[in-house]
């Protein structure tokens, strides 16, 4: 089973990278891009075949290591 995980800063947390990219897009004349936020994408393979167990494992990985839940949130897809 493959897990695809997105880790992003929580709304309201300052994202200077996002701002820098927004300004760069603007200066390249892409005027309609706003509120750019930058996150991480992590992919991993799981040996687990049971969907419920796989989801529990991925959630635990996110909570413990992959995201700092003080400042980040996460979502994942299993397939």
């Amino acid at each position: 089973m493959k897990a695809k995980i997105h880790v992003t800063l929580k709304p309201g947390i300052l994202d200077p990278q996002g701002k820098a990219i927004e300004h760069a897009l603007d200066s390249l004349k892409f005027k309609h891009a706003a509120n750019v936020r930058v996150g991480k994408y992590i992919e991993l393979d799981l040996q687990e075949t049971d969907a419920t167990k796989a989801e529990a494992a991925v959630k635990a990985m996110c909570e413990k290591l992959l995201a700092n839940t003080i400042i980040e949130e996460y979502r994942y897809e299993l397939g």
């Binding site: 300052l14 991480k40 290591l65 700092n68």
Partner: protein, 238 residues
């Protein structure tokens, strides 16, 4: 006193820490590899600066799970002194030994320069050699020093005098302009509720010798040593 300096893969300020404690302050220093499960015989532990695990995933995120960190947590729980400098501070935050988290510097730049910090609380084992409100000139060198915590935790830190150092101007005024990295409330260093675990972004070990033109950092490290000596003498009497 026997000072332990933890070495993670990627730590690079460990030798400077050893130099100051051993060669400037005349103490015994033990380098503690991150896989070491025991801190027995040590009087204080330093988590030095650097780039543990290359800052991969998040700075300090992987180092916090090193085997030695179990012992560091226990050491801290026993009320013993733990000082986290720069990456060490980041590791303490990720490990939950200090509250809050570090974000990328507001300017996105890695900032390497001297800063002024105000000693907000001179009643800790790390600052009792300082005067309350004293301004220290200490260098910083970091890309992720933008401290963040939620408003409730921040109010608690303020009420409980856990904010130990704030970035300030040369004359000690705390202004947003004096904050190099966007850190909340100009926080440059803070301690836990019990006051035995301190994390700070500036590098006191880089300014602890008169020959280098700045001894301000020595006050912090010498405070630790003097405090430990006092405790040992008191214990010997009992």
């Amino acid at each position: 006193m026997n000072i332990g300096v933890v070495v993670f893969p990627g730590s690079n300020c460990d030798h400077d820490c050893r130099y100051v404690f051993r060669d400037v302050l005349g103490q015994d220093v033990t380098m503690v590899w991150h896989k070491e499960p025991s801190l027995a015989g040590l009087d204080a532990v330093i988590l030095p600066g650097g780039f543990s695990y290359g800052d991969y995933l998040r700075t300090g995120a992987i180092a916090r799970f090193s085997p030695v960190m179990q012992a560091v947590k226990q050491f801290a729980a026993e009320g013993k002194l733990v000082l986290g400098i720069c990456n060490g501070f980041q590791i303490l935050l990720e490990a939950g030994l200090l509250p809050g988290a570090m974000l990328r510097n507001k300017s996105l730049h890695f900032i390497c320069r001297e800063t002024y910090v105000k000693v907000e609380n001179a009643a800790t084992p790390f600052t009792h050699a300082c005067k309350p409100g004293q301004v220290l000139k200490i260098p910083i060198a970091h890309a992720d020093g933008n401290y963040y915590t939620d408003p409730v935790t921040l109010a608690g830190l303020q009420a409980n005098a856990q904010i130990i150092f704030r970035y300030c101007t040369v004359d000690g005024t705390v202004t947003p302009g004096a904050c190099p990295n966007g850190s909340l409330d100009n926080i440059a260093g803070l301690c836990n509720a019990e006051g035995n675990v301190l994390g700070m972004m500036p590098h006191p070990e880089r300014c602890a010798e008169a020959m280098l033109g700045n001894e301000d950092g020595r006050l912090i490290l010498a405070s630790m040593v003097e405090g430990l000596k006092k405790t040992k003498r008191a214990e010997a009497v009992i």
